[in-house]
Amino acid sequence: MNKILYKIHAEGQRLNLQLTGRWRLVGLAKIETKLVRDVKQAFHKFGPDCEFYIDGSGLDSVDTSGVYLIMKIQQLAKQYFGKIQAYQNMPREFESLSIKLKNFDFKQHHIAVPSILMQIMEVFGNLGKAVTGTLNSIGEIFLLLGMFMVGFWDMITRPWQFRYTSMIHHLQNMTIPALVIVAAVSFMVGAVLTEQAAVRLPGFGAEELVVSFIGMTTTRETSILLTGMLVAGRSSSSITAEIGSMRMNEEIDAMKVIGLDVMRFLVMPRAMAMLIALPILTFVAIVAGLVGSAVLLNLRYGMSINVFIERIYTGLEISDIGTALIKTPFIAVALVMVACYEGMKVRSSASSLGYHTTVSVVKGLFLVIIIDSVIAIYFTQLNRLG
């Protein structure tokens, strides 16, 4: 039920705004618009010659929003009648609070909503920003590579200052919880690819051709791609979030002031951990992918495990595994450097933490694919020439 909080009535040339009840935010929120409208209507109806009074004798209580609203009406009256109008019988709270609001500028309180045109222009602006942003981030990659080399040089020239415990800690976090998921995903993709190939290659004995083909795909491509993507999702995001929240907490600033090298303390241990973790995970992915393939051929096409192993021996070369592993250091460095850099860009707001974490993962995924393709093309061309 809406309680009645005001009455407007006129006696001759005298316009009265009678306030009643509890003038508190709870009730006022519902009637504010109507009240202002009613008051304006009354002003127009009675014309500028009448006298306007606000009578507070019926007020039970008033809070700051009540005081504000009363004073706002008073301002309206002042604009309309051109002179200050009187209050009557106002409660004590009103007196003391209205003194505090005496110098408040009642006209300033609107933030303009941008026009449609402006909003459309803004879309184009954002598009432009996105383009330049992409160009910038390509340049960034070289900057980060440079930073990593400096950090790496620092590490090998002063190995006693390297943070081994920190690296071990990160290495654990990057490998142990990731092993199962990497193996499981790789196992399933290995099995599915084998099935797809086996179904499409017709005729007797075709499964045996499948082995070397799938073996090679798994080793050279899917293993590293899957591992890279999973690591970009797991570790890049956590590195960015970690460093980002340290920034928000001013921990990074504290480090700098104490004279600690951020590169040495935060970045290098993570980079080295990733440099070790990624080959391990990739190797696990290769093995799991081949196992998936073997299990599927065994169950669906009755190929014995021994035959499978034999096929793999003849069909695969050690350089296939090498091709996969040679990609890992590049991907590892790219992921860690991008993740740390995005973390450092976090400003002190929760949304910027979320934003940069997302960007870190997206850039990470992108880089995994780019690096993988570039190196793959390089090696295939090399094989053809040689």
């Binding site: 504000y68 709270e93 003391s96 300033q108 002190s348």
Partner: protein
């Protein structure tokens, strides 16, 4: 609404906060050991105690953010912890100023102040915005501050904005955790004046944790002192100054305390 002025209620002082035999524990660390505290309606109550005596924990318990390990807490007759799960009655009746402000970092200052009004009371956007500007003015900030993000504020400004947000719904009880810490002396004195005026004008009950002797002497009507996991004394300042306890004496009669006392006497 005739029963509002029933004589029995008018005479009996209203208990706004009751804490009975509160125990708070973190592992082996017994922070509160059967703590009792009753705060009556009206005025500003200071909560004082050494670092780590559990003032912030007490505040968290009173605002229902922490479940008492044992004992009972009632705010305006309701238990705050169960309150957070059920209705939201208390959220409209109290305002809390956290030690570090705890402004929402993704919202502008104006949106921070408007949020409780919009969400709790469905105040229309425009009116809420006007009121938010009024609160910004009340806590002594420029209107331009409204557009800034919390990360763009100085420490003192952040405190004021946090106060404005705590005052957004004109609460009955205002909890403050070290409101003047980090403010310059003039700013702190203004903050004290502001609190005095607001409590005076609006009848807000203030519960204030503070280490700031100036503020305690200037604005607190009563002070509760936490030590050894209990409230060792809860009384007017004169009686506390006369209280014979080593920590209390060291705190109020130490060089800083004496200085403030002498200034107060001169005034």
């Amino acid at each position: 609404m005739m029963n509002n002025i029933a004589p029995s209620k008018a005479i009996q002082p209203v208990k706004i906060i009751e804490v009975e035999n509160l125990v708070s524990q973190f592992g082996d660390n017994l922070v509160h050991d059967a703590l009792n505290l009753t705060i009556l309606k009206g005025g500003i109550t200071g909560i004082v105690g050494g670092s780590g005596t559990g003032k912030s924990v007490l505040l968290r318990t009173m605002t229902g953010l922490r479940k008492p390990d044992s004992g009972l807490v009632r705010i305006l007759g309701v238990q705050p912890f169960s309150e957070h799960k059920g209705g939201q009655g208390l959220a409209r009746k109290w305002g809390v100023l956290f030690q570090d402000g705890a402004l929402f970092s993704s919202l502008t200052v104006l949106d921070n102040i408007m949020l409780p009004m919009r969400e709790q009371l469905n105040v229309p956007f425009k009116f809420a915005q006007e009121l938010a500007y009024m609160k910004i003015f009340l806590v002594g900030l420029d209107a331009d501050v409204g557009r800034l993000m919390p990360s763009e504020l100085s420490g003192g400004m952040r405190k004021r904005v946090a106060l404005a947000r705590a005052l957004a719904l004109d609460p009955e009880i205002l909890f403050l955790d070290e409101p003047t810490a980090g403010l310059d002396p003039i700013g702190a004195a203004k903050f004290d004046d502001l609190l005095l005026e607001l409590t005076d004008a609006l009848g807000i009950n203030v519960i204030m944790i503070s280490h700031d002797l100036d503020s305690i002497f200037k604005i607190c009507d009563k002070v509760a002192i936490l030590a050894e996991g209990k409230v060792i004394i809860h009384d007017q300042l004169d009686d506390i100054l006369a209280f014979d306890h080593p920590w209390v004496q060291a705190y109020f009669a130490g060089p800083r305390g004496r200085q403030v006392q002498s200034q107060i006497k001169i005034i």
